[in-house]
Amino acid sequence: MKYNFTNEIHSEGVELSNITAQGFKSACVTINFVLPLGDRASYYALVPGVLTRSSQKYPDVTAIERKLALLYGAELVADISKVGENQVLKLGVSCIDDRFAFDGESITAECSDLLFELIFNPLTENGVFSAKDVESEKRLLCERLDAETGDKRAYAKNRCEEIMFGDEAYGIHRLGSREVIESITPEALFEAYKEILANAKICVCVSGKTDYEAVKNMLGKYIGSVERDLLTTETVFVEKAEDVTYQKESEPVKQGKLVMGFRLGMSDADDNYAARRIMVDLFGGSPHSKLFTIVREKMSLCYYCSARMIRQKGIMFVQSGIESYNEEKATKAILQQLEDIKNGNFTDEDVEASVKALEDTFKSVSDSPEALDTWFMSQCVSGDYKYPEDFIEEFKNVTREEIIKAASDVTLDTIFMLEGNAKGGEADE
């Protein structure tokens, strides 16, 4: 869809973006808090849950959910992610467009009100968060961490990250750690909440047909009363791995998980991004990639095997599900595909296919306000907002030599193997 994006600086470290388009059936408002990823991660990760659990006007989950239902099934967003060595807390509401309301009421205006109410008017007892809500949200956050331990694909990836970034902030889990979460008191959490309001870079994004000026006024009202002290961080880019770290664990699962972490040789997030992105796609990003067509299809070494680039840290992960006895074969085959790219063993058609695939992904961003919000807000850390189209042009101009060079810059840093020691065949009754 045709859309228009604007961005303005509200005050130091506070930005407002507006995405408008004709015809969207939904609208959304998100408030993104960018914080340095560090030892406060567990505290910060707990705040979104507590804020969306209750407020002064809506004292419990039932009241909030009832309000959302009356707003035609509006949805709350409370997401925590890692962007480079930043922890980003995203709180938002998305709803259907006002034209669908039964009685001409403004759904979007009420949704923005609700979002600001939840973030800035929390329910308090003796000046801090309600103890009951904090305890309950601590449990929920710990169970989210536990679920990642139960999901072996996620677990293996998390372990690889922990090992690979032992000395770097990036090794910290976006949700923090169970030990710290369990120790958090309502008083300490309220302090963390105040830190977030004071220290975070705050990016508000209004998408769809929502009254932008009203949101801007509300932001002014709430942020105006906060004494701000902006804290930012620079993500460390380690260009080369010194040697390969290997770790193996064993669990009673059927399928083994092999995760390999690589350094891409980037000095910052923009360092030859386009060529590297295409190289990763050729290597293991799409169904025509080498990992898919050769390691999975031709050699039948795994059920899934793919590579993903993390631009904001200059790294790449290969994740695969294999029979544990195939570990050595699979590792060798995966590394061989990278060698092949270094040696120029790929066709111009392969490159073209990657460019087309990326073009497809980037272009379709414009089809929903939620996707546009995600696209632009993922860039709020740097504040250097690019359009999907900007990258498409860059992809088209990448040469063979640049791709070969990008592959030559890659070094293997860490291998984590989760060996499955359960018997094959049917599950026990």
Binding site: D60, L68, Q255, Y303
Partner: protein, 427 residues
Amino acid sequence: MSENVINYIENSILEEGYYSIKHKSGLQIYVYPKSDYASAYAVFGTKYGSIDTRFKRSDRENFTEIPAGTAHFLEHKLFESEELDAFQRYAKTGASANAYTSFDRTCYLFTCTGNFKANFEILLDFVRHPYFTEETVQKEQGIIGQEIDMYKDSPEWECLFNLLDAMYINHPVKIDIAGTKDSIAEITAEMLFSCYDTFYNLSNMALAVAGNTTVDEVLEVADRLLEADEYVTVERTFLEEPSHIVKDYVEENLPVVTPVFALGFKETHSTPERTLEEEVAMSVILDILAGQMSPLYKELLDDGLVNNTFSTEYFHGHNYAAPLFSGESVNPREVADRIKKAAKELKSTLITEEQFETVRKKQYGKTVRAFSDVDTVANALVVSHFVDEELFSEFEVIKNLKLDFVNEILLKSFDEETAALSVVCGK
């Protein structure tokens, strides 16, 4: 040769609509244009899923019984051809392609932001031209074996299928969609051709396209590539399913920290499929009983018994139906007891007008929202076709739904005698 018959169906709330085309080849085609979108999404589906294991073509004498997992196996194999496989062909034209097999259908799809016609040609071509040999079938047995193993490690997947196995005595819904390593070992190339011949007849299929394309583009390709099949129908047969369950509790050990559970209430109906009215009514009931604004949800949350993964679903298809409650809990039995208790209470107080109107608003909003995504729209067109419903009728159903009808359904539901609980927990 007959001509294409084209109808336009419009919805006044959304102010948009779609073309329903009875194509001269015998295929039902739907085109939902969204000219302001960057992407287009196409899905070509057959009404053939994992539960279709006993069937015959209307022009054949005898019923055939096939091994579990054949529909899914065939899906994997159709991507191959003698030369380039479908993925390689799509890579040249620039589309992101996939396929899925569910209990009652197999669908092939792609999404793209350019080159629609070229991509669409590939879709129609490979689905219409099966190619496999004994050798390629054998190779696939290895790949799918891995897939089956992977699902065996998934606590949620295992929990669901253990529940179905506890609830159903004969119905094939209880068997993993991909089958078992033993069942897929029985699959041969000949068997796949015979299934293809039966289920991939155009009269048993549907094609839907949504997004940045036009009827003319779609029909230009369809007219050129689709040759009429001889008209046949598929007869399916199922072993009779008793109304009772196998067992009320099943447990499996997997390395999870918080146990995963699923509670289901097996229903028996006199007709094989649930109507859209029944489906919407049940989702209203489930939302009021256990949705996030229900007193039950708050109580379970406050008492540390569920987390944000708690959800409800009306699980139903041909000859099976069961409201399901699933999630993670340190004490699944206690959760199950509380759900049963809350259902009993709701049956005695009944749903109030106020609760009903609140949830109706929510349902309406969700329905409007669903029409934003080209993939949701295209898949919904295929699904509605297979159950003989019109895509927009959900709006009418929500608007005209009566509280009395919802309460009537409530009173017939949640029979504790047919409830089963499945738990996956650590050792």
